[in-house]
């Protein structure tokens, strides 16, 4: 709307409807000038309150209709005459102009401020031409007009020299002071002359001088953290600024999900990442964006895990160790920032398995572009409001909302990234020659069986076949050696890269639209993401749609906020590529090509030798051949996830200090998976063939012909409802009390099942009727059944009931006290309420030292505050603790069809909470005029009653029994530094650095592990729980078997009866980095920004894990690809080798020998590393250029390189400790990735 007085001249018929016509986009106006900024052209405050007493929302809903109607009116206005009759005495200029407008149909374009300075008009004309009338009207004004395209544009008159002199003589010089509500001077306040271009600032005493001011003018006072005020100019004016309640910059707010707290008043320890910081990295995976950004938060992107401030409990994995993820005030249903998709068919809505290897498609749970901020709540005082779910910290995500009184804006962003080809040279792979030598030794040692000796034998590798040919006498040694030589010089890596792998590509597109009027704000956004990982036939796609709206009613006494988010995700996984390079049956020997010289795919029979397979095919079997490339088209697991989240909140203002909130959220996730192993897939062909017997000379099919169609469906839903009272009261200028109290209920439930259909025909979309327990005859002469595993429908349901309260009290805006208490009760079978419902509390203190008088003169310190907090948090072990004997139901025996029950956990009458007490000291400082920000925190946590599966004598019936038994402590410190190294007009250099340390220790002296196994960390008093113990390596003996030292220094042999004592193992260190953090820096020159991000972790160790018992090639399964670990090439082969190698030999192998080698101190390496994550260059297009580009508000283009890899690692082998070998491709670090980003706003 153009101006506030709209409608006060009453002669037009469509007064309210007509005004929207006057919205004119000011192409001729420079948005950089003050004049234009203060114009209200864009505002949607269309209607004056006086004329519309209807509830506002009705009108808002009618907006569209009004706009349409307005469109017609504009057309009719063109027919008005250009003569005017008007009579007015001392009427405001505005009124007169409006009258002219209504008579002529001309549009008006002006600035409200100008109008206020206009002189009242006296005029009396009849049917006078428009221009004459206007000349008359403007004759006395300081203003001028021009008519452009039927619009009367009003401008300030260019002032003559004389005008200026007169003005100077009329002007005054003033002095003034700005104070806050505590009567403290406020320095750094911007004082602007309204309508002018001049501004001054208050000094540290809050005073300012302003010269040559018009006597009747207004001054505008603005400062961060205070409400902007307009005050009439007077001499010696004193202005009292009120603190701004709303719209603090995001980084200055701690949003804990229940309330917003000014960071400057918070007693708690937390870190907020803003949208701006998130946007610096273009990664699809939000985990990668926050890695190294937040002190005290360890992000393990390899295992998709976040740990905040170390562990508090012995269960360092699973839900019990993960922070709670909250979105817009309510816990998210999907408690993962990112899901990594596995190809396991899973019908359980609770436990969704993650794949064991890296390189699977990634689906983000949230649209990063919708995130306004992510707050990491770390200490007890911050998290206790979340009660029982929060003992591992809380991650609060707040989404973007529209702003009140904001111009509608559209923003678009896009990011496209592509990776280099997978670097297969990083696979721990011995040379072909060594590989063949390994096979030769296995052959010589009789570990292999000649498949020609019986039809049923599985095929062997090409090299092994040549070895057997010599043995059989069908080939000479010379022929074999020349054939092996050919194999030794042939590598399939090139074909694997070309045919099974692809350049990883990710795409993101985001479009958002937001705006707001005085009583309404809205934001709508849409996002599309696509992830194409390095393995072919794998991909992930996500669509996000979000709409938020907020409306005020009853003169802003009531605010209704609503939001809806819909997410649709789809992922396809296929393991053909990863299988081809993994150890095992489907792995390709290094010389096994994928395609022949003519480019035809090579299929190999795995189950039988090629000769037997071919003859079976002649008998009527389907092909027995397996080709990884062909398999890319079959056996895809396709997963669809749909989720919807609705939230609503109603806030009522009861008094100026009391608000009431009622809010709720409903979330629903639905997921289905389909795995179609169609008739052409290897798994199905093999199954069909195996089930095909020849009876009386004809083929009898035991398994219905067709594909196998496996599906899973699962869904979970959650609702929460909350009522909350908010009190914020200033008692006098000294005391201020802020209290919230509320209650909340929520329920989470889910169900899911799987189903397998046989004989599936894709054309008909139909499957065969089968009785899965009816035996059928196999080709091997025995019978088997299809088997039935789909009987169970997984279900779960939990309800929560909580009461909570949080109070903050401040005195002199200098001393802050906070306390919070929460009482949680939840559905927990078999636990008495006294054990089930626990009150959790915290208390905190903040002292704003800088506000003390003695700090006034410490100039370099702008702000200094000390914080202290203490509180408790608890976790109820969800592993089935119970005071009663619990049983699980849900199954029927597949033979007897009788429903059965099983014991889920033994009875434990004392099951209860794990309790963590946390103490936190913190310091916040701002130095050198805000150029250096320092945050330091030191914390200590003590956990008692840790739920632990105590090893029990299995004779009692259980190998472990869980008790609330142990205690541990965790302590650490965090340090964050934010600095502006230089700040010049055009050049700015920012850097931030964070450093975190944490360690933990078992403090229960009953924990003195007698474990002699280094495989799992041993819980022992005085040691951290992520400890790694190793054997002390004593070299190989003359049989190539491992030897170790015992504590007494004697050499133990792996054979015979070995009695290893606990003391024989040595402590090597922690497996989780105690020291970690990140560093980032950015240089900005004009619109160009160069950004760099690195992360580091120090002080931990890792196990090289290059040979393990089950991957050792003498194990029972020696089919397919053998272990290719390079160290295996240096294995012991003959007596004497023990002098030069530590790798146990193939002969005389035994379990101890391999396990001793694997877990010995020689294979424990330092994991310290520094990783360069990203270098990004971006350019923001200059405003002047944007103007030429059609009025864009902003445009930014960027290019970045990600996953730059290790800069430095301590271990000499140069192994990336985060991506150690686990038997498959997962030992490969992600390859370098290049991203292009584009951001536009208009």
């Amino acid at each position: 709307m153009l101006h506030k007085e709209a409608g006060s001249v009453t002669s037009t018929s469509g007064r309210c409807l007509g005004h929207p016509l006057n919205i004119v986009f000011p192409q001729h106006c420079n948005p950089e000038t003050q004049t234009c900024k203060s114009m209200n052209f864009y505002k949607f405050s269309l209607f004056n309150k006086r004329y519309f007493l209807f509830p506002k929302f009705l009108l808002v809903m009618k907006l569209t209709a009004i706009f349409m109607l307005a469109g017609f009116l504009q057309v009719s206005a063109a027919g008005f005459a250009q003569v005017v009759s008007i009579e007015s005495k001392n009427a405001p200029l505005v009124k007169v102009l409006s009258e002219i407008k209504s008579q002529t149909g001309y549009k008006l374009f002006y600035n409200n401020d100008m109008m206020q300075r206009a002189v009242p008009v006296n005029i009396a004309v009849k049917n006078a031409p428009l221009e004459d009338v206007l000349n008359q009207v403007f004759s006395n004004q300081q203003l001028n007009y021009s008519i452009i395209n039927k619009t009367i544009v009003i401008k300030e008159k260019p002032r003559s020299f004389v005008d200026k002199v007169v003005e100077m003589l009329n002007s005054i010089d003033i002095e003034g002071k700005v104070i806050d509500i505590d009567n403290k001077p406020v320095p750094g306040v911007t004082v602007i002359l309204k309508g002018g271009k001049r501004a001054v600032f208050t000094n540290e005493n809050g005073t300012f001088r302003f010269t040559s001011l018009p006597e009747e003018g207004m001054l505008i006072f603005s400062s961060i953290g205070y409400e902007t005020m307009e005050v009439k100019i007077s001499k010696n004016m004193v202005v009292k600024l009120r603190p701004a309640v709303l719209e603090l910059p995001v980084a200055n707010i701690v949003y804990n999900g229940y309330q917003q707290i000014d960071r400057g008043k918070a007693t708690s320890s937390s870190v907020t990442i803003t949208a701006k910081e998130l946007d610096k990295s273009p990664d699809l995976d939000i985990m990668k964006r926050i890695e190294g950004m937040v002190s005290g938060v360890q992000v393990d992107t390899r295992n998709n895990k976040i740990v905040m401030r170390g562990v508090n409990s012995f269960s360092s994995v699973g839900a019990n160790a993960s922070p709670l993820i909250v979105i817009d005030g309510f816990p998210a249903l999907d408690q993962n920032l990112t899901s990594v998709i596995s190809n396991t068919i899973n019908g359980n809505p609770v436990n969704v398995p993650a794949p064991s290897t890296s390189g699977s498609p990634v689906l983000s749970s949230f649209n990063v572009s919708d995130i306004q901020s992510i707050t990491f709540l770390k200490d007890a005082s911050a998290v206790s409001i979340w009660g029982a779910k929060a003992s591992n910290g809380v991650i609060v995500i707040e989404t973007k909302k529209g702003k009140r009184n904001a111009i509608p804006a559209i923003s678009f962003s896009s990011a496209l990234s592509t990776s280099g080809p997978a670097d297969l040279s990083n696979i721990d792979r011995m040379s072909n020659k060594d590989y063949i030598a390994l096979e030769q030794e296995l052959f010589n040692l009789n570990y292999l069986t000649d498949p020609a000796s019986a039809w049923r034998y599985a095929s062997i590798s090409e090299a092994q076949e040549w070895m057997f040919r010599v043995k059989r006498g069908t080939s000479t040694v010379t022929q074999r050696d020349s054939a092996l030589n050919v194999l030794a010089n042939r590598s399939n890596l090139g074909q694997i890269r070309d045919q099974l792998l692809q350049h990883a590509v990710t795409q993101q597109y985001n479009l958002a639209f937001d705006g707001g009027s005085e009583n309404t704000s809205y934001r709508i956004s849409g996002n599309y993401q696509k992830d194409r990982p390095v393995y072919k036939s794998n991909s992930g796609e996500s669509y996000f749609l979000m709409a938020n709206m907020s409306n005020d009613f009853l003169r802003k006494k009531l605010t209704l906020t609503t939001g809806i988010t819909y997410t649709s995700k789809k992922a396809q996984t296929n393991s053909a590529a990863i299988n081809a390079i993994s150890i095992g049956r489907l792995g390709l020997a290094p010389y096994d090509m994928l395609a022949d010289q003519y480019g035809n795919n090579i299929g190999r029979s795995l189950t039988f030798t090629q000769r037997v397979a071919d003859s079976l095919v002649r008998l009527g079997h389907k092909s027995w051949n397996y080709s990884p490339f062909d398999e890319l088209s079959y056996s895809n697991t396709i997963e669809n996830r749909n989720s919807v989240r609705l939230n609503g909140a109603l806030r009522g203002k009861v008094t100026h200090w009391l608000n009431v909130d009622v809010s709720g959220m409903y979330q629903k996730n639905m997921s289905d998976q389909v795995l179609l192993e169609n008739e052409n897939s290897f798994a199905t062909r093999e199954r069909l063939n195996t089930g095909t017997s020849i009876q009386s000379g004809r083929l009898v099919y035991g398994v219905p012909l067709g594909g196998i169609y496996k599906t899973s469906n699962s869904g979970s839903q959650n609702y929460s409802l909350r009522g909350q009272l908010n009190v914020d009261r200033q008692f006098n200028s000294i005391h201020r009390l802020n209290v919230i109290a509320g209650t909340e209920i929520s329920e989470q439930k889910g169900s899911g099942y799987t189903q397998t259909r046989y004989g599936y025909d894709e054309q008909l979309s139909s499957s065969a009727v089968v009785n899965p327990t009816t035996p059928y005859m196999t080709m091997y002469g025995y019978t088997t059944t299809l088997g039935y595993g789909d009987g169970t429908v997984s279900k779960n349901r939990t309800r929560y009931l909580s009461y909570y309260g949080n109070a903050g009290y401040s005195m002199y805006n200098k001393y802050f006290l906070s306390g919070s208490i929460r009482f949680d009760d939840m559905s927990m079978i078999g636990v008495e309420r006294r054990d089930r419902a626990a009150p959790l509390w915290s208390a905190g203190l903040r002292w704003d030292v800088k506000r003390e008088r003695f700090m006034e003169n410490v100039k370099p310190v702008d702000a200094l505050a000390l914080r202290f907090s203490y509180g408790t948090s608890g976790t109820f072990p969800n592993t089935g603790a119970s005071a009663y004997q619990l049983i699980s139901l849900g199954g029927r025996d597949s033979y007897t069809n009788l429903p059965y029950a099983s014991i889920s956990s033994p009875y434990n009458p004392n099951a209860g909470w794990e309790t963590t007490r946390q103490t936190n000291f913190g310091l916040d400082a701002s130095l050198i005029k805000g150029r250096l920000g320092v945050v330091f925190d030191i914390f200590g946590k003590r956990t008692s009653d840790i739920w632990y599966n105590v090893p029990t004598n299995a004779t009692y019936g259980f190998s472990t029994i869980a008790y609330n038994t142990s205690t541990m402590k965790t302590r650490g410190y965090e340090f964050g530094l934010n600095g502006q190294v230089t700040k010049a007009r055009d050049f700015q250099w920012d850097a931030s650095f964070n450093f975190s340390y944490n360690t933990n220790e078992v403090t229960d002296d009953r924990f003195n592990s007698v474990s002699t196994s280094p495989a799992t960390p041993r819980l022992t008093v005085g040691y951290p729980i992520d400890n790694l113990f190793a054997y002390r390596w004593a070299g190989l003996n003359d049989k190539g078997q491992s030897q170790i030292y015992n504590a007494a220094g004697e050499i133990l042999s792996s054979t015979g009866s070995v009695q290893i004592q606990t003391a024989d193992l040595v402590y090597m260190g922690r497996t989780v980095a105690p020291y970690f953090g990140g560093f980032n820096t950015s240089w900005t020159y004009k619109g160009i920004n160069l950004f760099m991000r690195a992360s580091y972790s120090f002080g931990h160790v890792f196990l090289k894990d290059d040979i393990s018992g089950d991957k050792y090639p003498t194990g029972t399964s020696v089919s397919g690809l053998l272990n290719t670990s390079r160290v295996l090439a240096d294995r012991w082969q003959k007596p004497g080798d023990e002098a030069s190698t530590n790798v146990p030999g193939l002969p005389n192998t035994n379990f101890n020998s391999i396990s001793w080698y694997k877990y010995s101190d020689i294979n424990v390496l330092d994991a310290d590393n520094i990783r360069l994550q990203q270098v990004a260059l971006s350019y923001s297009i200059k405003r002047s250029l944007l103007q030429k580009l059609g009025g864009l508000k902003g445009a930014n283009v960027g290019f970045s390189v990600n996953n730059l890899g290790l800069i430095w690692t301590k271990n000499k082998e140069n192994i990336d400790p985060d991506y150690v070998m686990t038997g498959a491709f997962s030992n490969l670090p992600p390859t370098r990735n290049y991203s292009f980003t584009l951001n536009l706003s208009l």
Binding site: I745, A954, Q1059
Partner: protein, 455 residues
């Protein structure tokens, strides 16, 4: 006035949310406290947990074995130890999966025995039946344990020989001192005898206990105690309830149609080995006992070269369990009852009767053209014929290992067993300490009152 209005609205809304604790105390899904009789009953229907029993005796007995190194390489470490009657089977920290699984079952049996009579919503008859079920299961399990981990029953020393820890209540504390062999056997007999009255004569489903199962287990227990009179009575009682023998002639041509476990007429009570190896080689000793016309030889053993998954290509492997792929069944069967009865008769010098009984089984095992009935000149010849028949009938089930232990108390029925494993020779004399399995050191470390078996 307005404020009061708003405030009261607020309070109404809030009080609606603040519901009572009943809100959270809802019936759980799929997991619940054990209360009703039906739930106790369902605990005993968990065949996947309760059917599996021992595994290692499969490898210890002289009815299996091969000198082929490729097969020997395929054995797990513990299996190799059992095959060579090693001094120790388990590492210091290692669990004995058989011990732990059997005692895990025991916890459930003890839970049922001690709780079912006080359970809710069950008619008394059902409670008594479930109690009887649990007792039969418990007796079976103790019989297995005492025959693996304790010396063979000998009336002269049983009262002092350490048996196995004998828990009769579900508990996680208390002494695990090994009860004597005598005490364990007495408990087995007591449980079975007490159960008899409340059991159905014949099982509804063969994985559930029945009177015939209880008699079958009593026959086994008495046979081990060398109480041949009671063993014979018990076997006759069992046979009175079920005496079906499968005529193998019906399956000689199409062995894969052999009845499945639930409808196998010979099965009395289903228990199976915890593990069914892909390939179990028939020992040369066992092969020497076979007449090539014996249908059991023809269909229940196969040339290794045609057994899918066999590591080697020479000799023969057991195939009965592979025909159906349901496991190696080791519970009492009708043929076993017949053989117990025959053995007892032979030992009581009624050798002609013994031969008649054995022949009633053998006639179903040969084609009519090749069948010749057994005839014995005296009791000792009859006994050794019965024992050979027992080997053939119960081959590849681990039963032979328990017989070897038992027959060490007889003169001349078994000899020293010798085998070569990865080119090292091992031998086992009758009555050797190595006939008793070692107890995993882990259990002794945790509860030192458990004493290790002498080696």
């Amino acid at each position: 006035m307005k404020k009061i209005f708003y405030l009261s609205i607020t309070l109404i809304v809030l009080s609606g949310i603040v519901s009572c604790r009943k809100y959270v105390e809802i019936d759980p899904e799929q997991t619940r406290p054990l209360k009703t009789t039906t739930e106790y009953e369902m605990l005993l229907y968990n065949a996947n947990l309760l059917e599996p029993s021992y595994t290692l005796p499969l490898f210890s007995g002289d009815d299996i074995g091969s000198d082929e190194i490729v097969w020997q390489n395929s054995l797990g470490i513990t299996q190799g130890n059992a095959y060579t009657w090693a001094e120790n089977y388990f590492g210091t920290e290692e669990e004995d999966s058989q011990w732990s699984a059997l005692y895990r079952q025991m916890y459930i049996y003890n839970l049922v025995v001690n709780g079912v009579m006080d359970s809710d919503n069950g008619p008394d008859a059902l409670k008594r039946k479930v109690l009887a079920y649990a007792k039969v299961h418990r007796a079976y399990t103790y019989l297995v344990l005492v025959n693996m981990y304790a010396p063979q029953y000998d009336a002269a020393t049983a009262a002092s020989d350490p048996g196995v820890p004998m828990l009769l209540t579900p508990s996680f504390t208390g002494s695990l001192k090994r009860a004597t062999v005598q005490e364990v056997y007495e408990q087995i007999v007591k449980d079975l005898t007490e159960a008899l009255g409340d059991l159905p004569a014949i099982a509804d489903v063969k994985s559930n206990p029945s009177q015939s199962a209880a008699y079958g287990l009593l026959a086994r227990a008495y046979l081990n105690m060398r109480d041949f009179t009671n063993a014979q009575t018990a076997s006759e009682n069992a046979l009175a309830l079920n005496s079906n023998i499968v005529d193998l002639n019906a399956y000689a041509a199409a062995p894969a149609t052999y009845p499945t476990k639930l409808v196998d007429p010979e099965a009395i009570f289903l228990k199976r080995t915890a593990l069914a190896p892909t390939f179990l080689p028939v020992s040369s000793h066992m092969l020497s006992l076979f007449d090539v016309n014996d249908i059991r030889y023809k269909i229940f053993t196969m040339p290794a070269s045609s057994i899918q998954g066999a590591q080697i290509n020479t000799g023969r492997g057991y195939f009965k369990y592979r025909l159906r792929g349901e496991g190696i069944f080791i519970g009492p069967t009708v043929p076993e009852m017949i053989l117990i009865r025959a053995e007892c008769l032979a030992r009581k010098n009624q050798f002609q009767n013994a031969m008649d009984v054995v022949n009633s089984l053998r006639i179903k095992r040969f084609p009519a053209s090749a069948y010749t009935p057994f005839n014995a000149a005296d009791a000792s010849a009859a006994l050794s014929m019965v024992m050979n028949e027992r080997e053939r009938e119960l081959m590849g089930t681990g039963s032979r290992w328990f017989d070897q232990r038992r027959l060490s108390k007889d003169q001349g029925l078994i000899g020293t067993v010798a085998r070569t494993f990865k080119s090292v020779s091992y031998s086992l004399e009758p009555g050797s300490n190595r006939y008793v399995y070692p107890i995993a050191p882990r259990y002794i470390t945790m509860n030192p009152e458990i004493v290790q078996n002498p080696r």
